[in-house]
Amino acid sequence: EADIYQTPRYLVIGTGKKITLECSQTMGHDKMYWYQQDPGMELHLIHYSYGVNSTEKGDLSSESTVSRIRTEHFPLTLESARPSHTSQYLCASNSQGEASPLHFGNGTRLTVT
């Protein structure tokens, strides 16, 4: 059913490791987003992209970085993971236009030990 795919689904890594969370969508959407969400809590926008070669920081400051080299692909990278990065990361996309709903991936649950 999902048209937006995130890998891995779960990730447990040690402090200091570099990680990349993958997000791909097959809907041809121009706009893509990364949200960070602690269990049962709010969704915080950390990055978004209008299209290829466009990236912007969201409302919540994050040490992660993103890239948008292809329309369908919007990976998120943490150069040096810390326990404070433990959270769920949700990728979403939507098409152009003000009233376009967001489609979410299943998320990556990251634990940094």
Partner: protein, 112 residues
């Protein structure tokens, strides 16, 4: 920056009772969207409202968009255990359609 608050934060209801969550934005919204997130899942789009004062229904769910386009509500009639989850409103501010800000969410628990 834009803030979107929802009340209540948590709600426990007996199955069959009604439930309402309220969404208030600090800025005027171009549209309001509602999402449902089941425990352990990801947010799933329910509906969007665009016009001032708009009311839409989906079976037992009724959605309203305020006249000033700064608030919205979701009302569920006769809750069922399948309604369990967290309900989020979301919307871009007028003129800022690139960024969708989510509300703080209301977690609904239905007691059978």
């Amino acid at each position: 920056g834009q803030q979107v608050m929802q009340i209540p934060q948590y709600q426990h209801v007996q199955e069959g009772e009604d439930f309402t969550t309220y969404c208030n934005s600090s800025t005027t919204l171009s549209n309001i969207q509602w999402y449902k997130q089941r425990p352990g899942g990801h947010p799933v789009f329910l509906i969007q409202l665009v016009k001032s004062g708009e009311v839409k229904k989906q079976k037992r769910l009724t959605f309203q968009f305020g006249e000033a386009k700064k608030n919205s509500s979701l009302h569920i009639t006769a809750t069922q255990t399948t309604d369990v989850g967290t309900y989020f409103c979301a919307g871009p501010p007028t003129g800022g359609y690139q960024k969708v800000t989510f509300g703080t969410g209301t977690k609904l628990q239905v007691i059978p």
